[in-house]
């Protein structure tokens, strides 16, 4: 019996043992509500605040600047809608983001549009990299926030976030970055980047699902999107997920500590896999390969004249788990807005994303190359044309 290979770490990754261990007491005897006065509450409050400090340290932030959320999507929504609703009262007219953001940002931006904001999407080049001159242009629209993701989840392009933040600062505009995919893979430090708002998610770095954080620089105003009892400085009310925060903190510490070594190791695995597949399938296109900076753990490949569904399903049946273009809730494939923005949408093609994590080995990469080659040979549409 062989194990199927998991090569979809950008979607999610296994819970680290350190995280599980750290969480266990808070799923068990230490169940208190951090808002309670009594000793159960105080113990929980202590754990929560210690977790907050550790996440802050991993990001280069102060603990007062970390708001725990229910995940990356929620952090993104607070950043975009919370900023819009706050800033429009002060004369802001627009919300700006790149054209390759995660759906969490794009959907929140569209909602801001329905609430009166002018929506400005910043174009990217064929590698997925933002054009900085477009940012300057957009700043003239009086945006409530400019949001540029640190690293793209589909193709791995890393954006010039510090440069964007600098321009925003010069214009007096708030800058947000969705660092969900970048945290733990490239150095992410809020002070060095100069951003005002930043989103991260626990389950991408080996923490539990259902918890994330929003970094809110001291002095930046944001409204909540959810209303309730005032927890997390009123920005994310609701009884806190103590176990989740503790697990997040343990994972964040490990991820930050390993980041430099992992980045080198994962990039090498990525490049090996890329070269092997290219040798076997010469007309494959590597998305974002020409970008100035890329996430080390993502490899996005487009195969011309191939059936998307058959490819992914075929790989799954052969024992390789990876992903295709973003999926809608029914589970069927949909066209990628990221590839479209890069000018790389291609009819009758299949795009797969292979992504690596701390358990990925060279042996897995070798096997993955074989399986991709085998399935790629089978899903060529022209070879099976009717009649």
């Amino acid at each position: 019996m062989v194990q199927a290979i998991y090569m979809d770490h950008a979607a999610t990754t296994a819970l680290r043992p350190e995280a599980r261990e750290a969480m266990a007491p808070y799923l068990d005897a230490r169940f208190g509500n951090p808002s309670s006065t009594h000793r159960w509450g105080r113990e929980a409050r202590g754990a929560l605040e210690e977790a907050r400090e550790r996440v802050a340290a991993a990001l280069g932030a102060r603990r007062s600047e970390i708001v725990f959320t229910g995940g990356g999507t929620e952090a993104d929504n607070i950043a975009i809608l919370g900023r819009w609703r706050c800033a429009r009262q002060e004369g802001a007219r627009a919300v700006v983001c790149s054209a390759v953001e995660h759906k969490a940002i794009l959907a929140a931006v569209q909602q801001a549009g329905r609430e009166g904001a002018e929506v400005v999407l910043l174009a990217v080049d064929e590698h997925g990299t933002l054009d900085l001159d477009a940012v300057d242009h957009a700043l003239a629209a009086a945006p409530a926030v400019v949001s540029v993701m640190w690293g793209n989840n589909e193709v791995g392009t890393v954006q010039p976030v510090a440069a964007v933040a600098e321009r925003c600062r010069a214009a007096g505009v708030i800058c947000h970055t969705d660092a969900v995919q970048a945290f733990g893979k490239v150095p992410v430090d809020v002070a060095a980047a100069g951003v005002d708002l930043l989103s991260v998610s626990a389950h991408k770095i080996g923490g539990p699902k259902g918890v994330g954080a929003l970094y809110v620089r001291d002095g930046v105003s944001v409204e909540p999107v959810c209303h309730g009892g005032g927890q997390e400085r009123q920005l994310r009310p609701g009884t806190e997920n103590v176990a989740g925060a503790v697990g997040f903190a343990a994972a964040a510490e490990r991820a930050a500590a390993e980041q430099a070594a992992e980045a080198t190791r994962l990039a090498a695995l990525r490049d090996t896999l890329c070269e092997r597949i290219r040798a076997a399938v010469p007309d494959v296109r590597v998305n974002g390969q020409g970008a100035a900076a890329r996430l080390p753990h993502v490899l996005s490949l487009t195969f011309p004249d191939a059936d998307q569904d058959a490819f992914l399903i075929g790989l799954d049946l052969e024992g390789l788990a990876c992903s295709g273009a973003s999926a809608c809730q029914s589970g069927a494939s949909a066209p990628s807005h990221v590839l479209t923005a890069m000018g790389g949408a291609m009819d009758a093609s299949a795009t797969i994303r292979l992504s690596f994590g701390h358990v990925t080995t060279a042996a897995e990469v070798a096997r993955a190359a074989e399986l991709v080659e085998r399935v790629a040979g089978r899903v060529r549409i022209a070879a099976l044309a009717r009649g």
Binding site: D309, L317, S330, G331, R378, R386
Partner: protein, 397 residues
């Protein structure tokens, strides 16, 4: 080497050829999948996404709605087989929905399930299944496939494997005969009518695992297996018009002011105006209209004159016809010769009627019915049978 199984049945028949089951989320395709697993096939369930569900609230109808996908997933989990959803929206829109709309606009009554089987559900799905490495697809249709003539009988629902051909056509050589497509064993459930348009060359790659069972036997098997869909009601509506309000659907596609949807004169065959209709697309041949004012006599829709936006009504006698012409033909066996006697079925629920073939050409077949039939409807299907065998059919002109 076998994979560590996530789904138990994935490994049970690991060396068998792969069969993809089209799972709609209904009980028939659920049991079809179960039977194939029992028979030793390596089975994968596939649900087709044929249109976008995000825009339809409260869509719990069976067949292709989101509920159907979730049900199919649950059944696949119970059976221990992998299940996937594939996007067929573009092909389905092109082959089925666009045709549905244009037929109604032209004053005919389309049969989208026939178009879907002939284009999307069977051939397109088979093409995709082959790309996945499968050699056959199965559906929950109540129909049977039997090997031609003298080949030995194989597992129920399968044709003789030796007759299976490379995609693109039968092997050259004297003795190849395609499998015969027969009615389902349960006459109340027989769905062979909907399959007349399936290209003959795909027949060797089809399986109909429940075709030799009755509906009650299928439900019983589903209950025994504790499948989530054992008692699910059957889908009555067109899958892409889950509310059943197809007038509203057509208005969405054609515009509410389209000639097919606005009022016009209700006339008798001689041209006498007897009332008003609400848009000719809302009427189908055989529908009854009662007029007020003491007329009493029920009138039936005889047809539609779209160029004049007229709906023609008449008496029950006027509704009968003995001549039927079929176009857009498809053959699953040798076409009939002039003079041959066949049975033709002009509606799914209609009884087959004996008919004599008057003429046959590449474009059309003209039939003389031995007894006049009511409500022979342009756009509907005429399915042709030699005894139990479906030999092909066409669209009624």
């Amino acid at each position: 080497m076998p994979l560590e199984p996530f789904e138990p049945a994935e490994q049970r028949n690991a060396d068998a050829p792969l069969v993809v089951v089209a799972m709609s989320g209904g009980v028939d395709s659920s049991v079809a999948a179960a039977l194939l697993v029992e028979q030793g096939a390596r089975v994968v369930g596939l649900t087709m996404k044929t249109f976008c569900y995000s825009g339809t609230a409260n869509n719990t109808k069976t067949c292709c709605g989101l509920e159907g996908i979730l049900d199919a997933r649950r059944v696949a989990q119970t059976l221990g087989i992998p299940h996937y959803v594939v996007d067929m929206e573009e092909a389905f829109t092109r082959h089925v929905i666009d045709d549905f709309v244009s037929e109604y606009a032209a004053g005919r009554t389309p049969n989208p399930c026939v178009r879907c089987n002939a284009n999307t559900k069977i051939p397109d799905l088979l093409r995709r299944a082959r790309l996945m490495g499968a050699e056959a697809i199965a559906t929950g249709h109540y129909a049977r496939l039997e090997p031609a003539a003298s080949a030995a009988s194989t597992a129920p629902g399968a044709a003789a494997p030796s007759a299976a051909s490379a995609p693109g056509g039968p092997p050259s050589g004297a003795s190849y005969s395609p499998p015969r497509l027969l009615r389902g064993r349960d006459p109340a459930k027989d769905q062979s009518y909907f399959l007349w348009g399936v290209p003959a060359e795909v027949l060797p790659a089809l399986r109909f695992p429940v075709g030799h069972l009755t509906k009650e036997e299928v439900r019983k098997r589903a209950r025994e297996l504790e499948l989530a869909t054992a008692d699910k009601p059957e889908s009555q509506e067109i899958c892409f018009v889950p509310t059943g309000h197809y007038g509203e659907f057509l208005a969405g596609r054609l515009g509410a002011e389209h000639a097919a949807l606005v009022p016009g004169p209700l006339v008798r065959a001689d041209g006498e105006v007897v009332g008003e209709h609400a848009g000719y697309a809302r009427y189908t041949v055989g529908q009854r209209r009662r007029l007020g004012g003491g007329r009493g006599e029920p009138l039936y829709v005889l047809g539609v004159r779209p160029e004049r936006q007229e709906v023609v009504v008449g008496s029950a006698e006027e509704l009968e016809q003995s001549q039927v012409t079929l176009g857009d033909l498809n053959w699953l066996a040798d076409p009939p010769a002039p003079g041959e006697r066949l049975a033709v079925q002009v509606r799914h629920r209609a009884r087959p009627v004996a008919a004599r073939v008057r003429t046959v050409s590449a474009e059309r077949v003209e039939l003389e019915l031995e007894r006049p039939q009511r409500a022979v409807t342009p756009g509907q299907s005429g399915a042709l049978y030699r005894d139990e065998q479906l030999i092909g059919g066409g669209r009624i002109r």
